[in-house]
C-alpha cells in the first residue's frame, strides 16, 4: 500500500478517510481550477450528516472552474499516524494537503469544535493566526450559526460569511478571479460584499474591566455593521439534485429535503429560531421533485423532511400523503426530524408509521408551565398528555422527551415538575396501552445563553446548581421504565464562554490546541481542569463571559445583524420576566424587525 493507504488501513474505521463514495466529484487539477476545501471540524460521521455541506459541495462543483473537496477532523488514531509519519491532513477526493487549496471553508456549528478547526490547521502546517499566514497560503473562510458571534475566531479566520452561504460564496469566488487571485486585494474587496465580515479590518478597544469600549472598521468604505444574507425564494434556490452516499453508517444516513427555512415559533432560548428568520417555504411540488431526484440519485431508503419545525409546514398533511403514495412501493420511508406535541402530529404519525416505526422524540424544554411560558414554548400539560395517550394507543412504547436545565428564573420546583411529568406519563401508558414495555427517556441538556436571542444578556447557571438539578433527576428517575440522559454541565459552561466570547479568546484557543486539546465535544477528551489552567495562565476569567450583562453593554457580536432588532430582543426578555407569551408570528406579525431592516420586505 501507499503511505496514506497504510495509515487509512491501520485506522479504526478506514471508510472515514477513503473517499470514493457514490456522487463524489473529481475534477482535473489544472492551474486554472480554484480549489476549495469544505472543512468540517468533527469526524466524518458527523460532518456527512450536515445538510449545509451537501448543498455547498454540489453548488460549488456545479461551477466549471471550482473544485470543492471535503476534509474532516481525523479521529485521534489517524491523527497519531499522521504526526508520527510526518504526513499532512488530506482531502478525501484527491488526498491533497490543505496548503494546496485556494480556500478552506470551515463550518461553525458548535463552539466546542473550535479547537478542532485549529487542530486541522496544525495538522496541515498552516499557521493559526491570519496575520502569520503569507499571501500564498489559503484564504480561511467560515460560516454557519456560530458565525453570528465570530469574535472568538476573529484573529484566525480571514473571512466570515454571515447568514445563508449559497449566493455569497459564489460571489466571493467570482471576486477572487477578478482580482487575479491576489489574497490581499481579495480580502479588501470582499469586506465590501454584503454579508461578509473580514475581521482584520476592524479594531476593538476595551474598558479596564474588560467590557468593550469601541468597535470600528479601520479601513475606509467598509461597513460598521454586517447584515446577514438570505435566499429570498426557496423555490428558486439551488438545491442539490444528488448527495454523496457514505459507505459507512453516519448519524443521518438518508436523503434530506429541506422544506423551509426559518421558524415562527419564537422560543426565547433558541438561536436558530431567531437568526434564520423569516420563514420561507418551498411549494409541495418543488419538495416532491427534489425528493424524487434525490432518491433516484442516491438509492436511499428514507427521505427526511427537514426544517427547524417540520410539522409547522403549511401543507404538511397533503405533502406527506403524496410522498408516501409515491415512494411506498419502493420501500422508501418518510421521516420527520422533530414532532410537535399536538393532536395534528399524531395524525401525521399514523400516516408515516405505515412503512417504519421508530422511537419518538418530543421537545418539552421545561417541566413547569410557568417556565415554559418564560421561554415562550407554547406547549401545555394538556397537549403533552393527550399526545402521549394517542401515541401509546397507536402502539408506540418508546418515547424520548427533551428538557433544558439552567433556564433563566429556574428553581428546584421547575426541575421537580420534570419528575411529575415522567410519573404521569408512566401511568398514562398503563391505562392507554395495557402493555408493559414502556421506555421513557428523559434527556436534559444545559441551557447556554446564545447571541442574537432574547436571552443573550442572561447569566449561565452556576455549575453547583446544575449539578444539584441533575443529581435530583438521577435519583428521581431511578425506575426501570425511565432512562435519564444528562450532560456534563462543565462542557456546556465552556460552550457558553465561547458562545458569548470576544477576541481575547483567540489566544486561549491557540494555547489549548498547542497543548493538545481537541474534540471538546467528546466526553472522553473534554478536560475541564486543563482549560481552566489555560484561562488562569492567560489571566482571563471565564466567568466574565458567562455573567449577566446589561442592555447598555456593547456585546462582542453587536456588529453582526440578524435582522431581528435589539429592541425586539429586549422586549422579549422583559416579557419573559413576566412569563408572558408571544404568539407564533404566522398568526400575525410580532414586529421582530426582520422585514424592516437591510433584507427588505421578506415576510
Amino acid at each position: 500500500m501507499k503511505p496514506l493507504e497504510e495509515i487509512i488501513y491501520l485506522s479504526e474505521k478506514p471508510s472515514r478517510y477513503m473517499g470514493g463514495e457514490f456522487n463524489q466529484v473529481l475534477k482535473p487539477l489544472s492551474p486554472e481550477m480554484i480549489r476549495f476545501a469544505f472543512a468540517f471540524p468533527d469526524i466524518y460521521e458527523v460532518g456527512m450528516s450536515h445538510l449545509g455541506m451537501h448543498i455547498l459541495y454540489n453548488l460549488l462543483n456545479d461551477q466549471e472552474d471550482i473544485f470543492c473537496e471535503r476534509v474532516f477532523s481525523p479521529w485521534v488514531d489517524l491523527e497519531k499516524h499522521l504526526v508520527e509519519r510526518g504526513l499532512d491532513l488530506f482531502t478525501l477526493e484527491t488526498k491533497s494537503p490543505l496548503r494546496d487549496m485556494d480556500f478552506i471553508g470551515f463550518t461553525l456549528q458548535y463552539e466546542l469544535s473550535y479547537t478542532n478547526i485549529l487542530n486541522m490547521l496544525k495538522l496541515s502546517g498552516i499557521p493559526y493566526y491570519a496575520g502569520d499566514r503569507g499571501p500564498g497560503e489559503p484564504v480561511i473562510m467560515a460560516g454557519g450559526s456560530c458565525g453570528y458571534n465570530p469574535e472568538p475566531l476573529a484573529l484566525i479566520v480571514d473571512l466570515f460569511v454571515i447568514g445563508e452561504g449559497e449566493e455569497v460564496t459564489l460571489e466571493l469566488l467570482e471576486l477572487y478571479k477578478e482580482v487575479g487571485r491576489d489574497k490581499e486585494k481579495f480580502l479588501l474587496a470582499a469586506a465590501r460584499v454584503p454579508g461578509v465580515y473580514v475581521p482584520g479590518f476592524y479594531e476593538v478597544t476595551y474598558e479596564e474591566d474588560g467590557r468593550i469600549k469601541d468597535f470600528h472598521p479601520t479601513v475606509e468604505g467598509i461597513p460598521g455593521k454586517i447584515g446577514k444574507r438570505i435566499l429570498k425564494d426557496m423555490n428558486e434556490a439551488y438545491y442539490p439534485p444528488r448527495m454523496i452516499v457514505p459507505f459507512m453508517d453516519v448519524v443521518h444516513d438518508r436523503a434530506v429535503v429541506e422544506i423551509f427555512r426559518g421558524c415562527t415559533a419564537g422560543c426565547r432560548f433558541c438561536q436558530a429560531g431567531m437568526i434564520y428568520r423569516p420563514v420561507r417555504e418551498k411549494t409541495p411540488e418543488v419538495i416532491a421533485r427534489e425528493a424524487r431526484e434525490l432518491i433516484a440519485a442516491t438509492g436511499y431508503e428514507e427521505i427526511s423532511l427537514t426544517s427547524l419545525s417540520t410539522l409547522d409546514y403549511s401543507k404538511i398533511g397533503p405533502l406527506i400523503t403524496d410522498l408516501m403514495t409515491e415512494h411506498e412501493t419502493n420501500k422508501v420511508g418518510i421521516s420527520l426530524p422533530s414532532l410537535r406535541l399536538d393532536s395534528y402530529s399524531v395524525e401525521v404519525l399514523k400516516e408515516v408509521q405505515k412503512v417504519r416505526k421508530t422511537g419518538l422524540t418530543f421537545a418539552v424544554e421545561a417541566g413547569s408551565q410557568r417556565l415554559r411560558d418564560v421561554i415562550n414554548k407554547g406547549v401545555t400539560e394538556e397537549d403533552l398528555y393527550t399526545t402521549m395517550e394517542s401515541i401509546f394507543s397507536l402502539g408506540w412504547d418508546r418515547v424520548k422527551l427533551y428538557f433544558m436545565l439552567g433556564l433563566p428564573t429556574e428553581t428546584m420546583a421547575d426541575v421537580e415538575a420534570i419528575r411529575t411529568i415522567a410519573r404521569r406519563i408512566e401511568a398514562l401508558y398503563k391505562e392507554a396501552s395495557g402493555r408493559k414495555r414502556l421506555t421513557l427517556t428523559i434527556s436534559t441538556s444545559v441551557f447556554v445563553p446564545k447571541p442574537h436571542t432574547p436571552f443573550q444578556w442572561e447569566a449561565f447557571d452556576t455549575l453547583e446548581a446544575l449539578r444539584k438539578k441533575e443529581n435530583y433527576l438521577k435519583d428521581a428517575l431511578r425506575y426501570k421504565t425511565f432512562k435519564y440522559q444528562y450532560h456534563d454541565p462543565r462542557s456546556s459552561y465552556l460552550e457558553g464562554v465561547f458562545a458569548r466570547g470576544d477576541r481575547r479568546l483567540n489566544r486561549i484557543l491557540v494555547q489549548a490546541v498547542e497543548e493538545g486539546i481537541r474534540f471538546d465535544g467528546w466526553q472522553e477528551f473534554f478536560d475541564f481542569d486543563h482549560w481552566m489552567a489555560i484561562f488562569e495562565g492567560q489571566g482571563i476569567d471565564p466567568e466574565f463571559y458567562t455573567r449577566k450583562r446589561d442592555y447598555e453593554e456593547i456585546l462582542p457580536w453587536d456588529h453582526i445583524e440578524s435582522g431581528v432588532t435589539k429592541a425586539y430582543l429586549i422586549q422579549e426578555n422583559e416579557k419573559s420576566k413576566r412569563a408572558e407569551l408571544t404568539r407564533d408570528c404566522r398568526g400575525g406579525c410580532t414586529a421582530c424587525g426582520v422585514n424592516q431592516g437591510h433584507l427588505g420586505e421578506v415576510c
Partner: protein, 220 residues
C-alpha cells in the same frame, strides 16, 4: 423466484470497505439502478443479498460473487452496460446472470486464489526460502481462536494448495482452502511465513472455486 448473480471487481479505495459496508453499497447501487429487489417482510424490510466468502478490510478483489433475490427477472446486459451511472467508480461489474434458485454461495465455495504483492525491501531469496521451507513441511500447526474465545490447534499445511513467488511481479501467488469446511485467510498464512507488516501488503483475490462432479471449477 429469480436471483441475480453478479461477478465484480473491488478496486482502489474500495479495499477499505468492511463486509457490511460492501453489502450496503451494493444495495444502494441496485436501488439507484431500479433493480426490483425482493424485500423481507416486517417493520424493517431488507433485501436478500449474499456474498461468497466476504473479504477482510484491506483486500482488493477481482472476483466478488454475489446473489441478490429479485422480485422479478431483469435484463442483466443492461445493468452491466449502464453500471457507471449507478455504482461507485471503483466497483466494477464484470458479468451478471439470472438464476432460479441457486444453492448458498457460502456452502459452495471451497477454494480461493490470491496474489500478495509485497512492496518491501526484502531479497527474493529470502522469500523463496521461506516458501520452500513451508512447503517442505508435513504439518504446520497454528493456534486459532474459536468463536467462544478458546483456542484450537489447526494444521494449515494441507489448506495450502499452491504457493509460489513471482519475482518479476514481486508477488506471492497462493491457492487456499476457503469456505465453511476448511478456511485459511491469506494474511494468516503470510504471518506464519514472514514477519511483514500487513499494511505494506497488497492482497488481491483472483478467483473463487467450487466443486462440480468432483472437479474444481470457477464459482461464477
Amino acid at each position: 423466484m429469480a436471483y441475480l448473480q453478479l461477478l465484480a471487481r473491488k478496486t482502489g479505495n474500495l479495499r477499505f470497505l468492511s463486509h457490511l459496508e460492501t453489502h450496503k453499497m451494493l444495495e444502494r447501487s441496485l436501488r439507484r439502478a431500479r433493480v426490483p429487489l425482493a424485500f423481507s417482510h416486517g417493520f424493517n424490510p431488507h433485501p436478500n443479498i449474499s456474498f461468497a466468502a466476504p473479504l477482510p478490510v484491506g483486500s482488493l478483489s477481482d472476483y466478488e460473487v454475489v446473489h441478490v433475490e429479485l422480485a422479478e427477472a431483469i435484463d442483466t446486459g443492461g445493468l452491466i452496460r449502464d453500471q457507471r451511472r449507478f455504482f461507485p467508480e471503483e466497483f466494477i461489474l464484470l458479468k451478471g446472470k439470472i438464476l432460479e434458485k441457486p444453492p448458498s454461495l457460502m456452502k459452495e465455495v471451497v477454494r480461493s486464489d490470491y496474489t500478495v504483492t509485497l512492496n518491501l525491501p526484502v531479497s527474493p531469496r529470502e522469500i523463496e526460502e521461506g516458501i520452500r521451507e513451508f512447503l517442505s513441511r508435513e504439518t504446520h500447526l497454528i493456534r486459532k481462536r474459536t468463536k467462544k474465545g478458546r483456542y484450537n490447534e489447526v494444521d494449515i499445511r494441507p489448506q495450502v494448495k499452491d504457493l509460489a513467488y513471482d519475482q518479476q511481479a514481486d508477488s506471492i501467488f497462493m491457492s487456499l482452502d476457503t469456505g465453511s469446511v476448511s478456511n485459511l485467510k491469506p494474511l494468516v498464512l503470510m504471518e506464519e511465513l514472514f514477519d511483514f507488516p500487513p499494511e505494506k501488503l497488497d492482497i488481491k483475490r483472483e478467483k473463487l472455486y467450487k466443486t462440480k462432479d468432483g472437479e474444481l471449477v470457477e464459482l461464477y
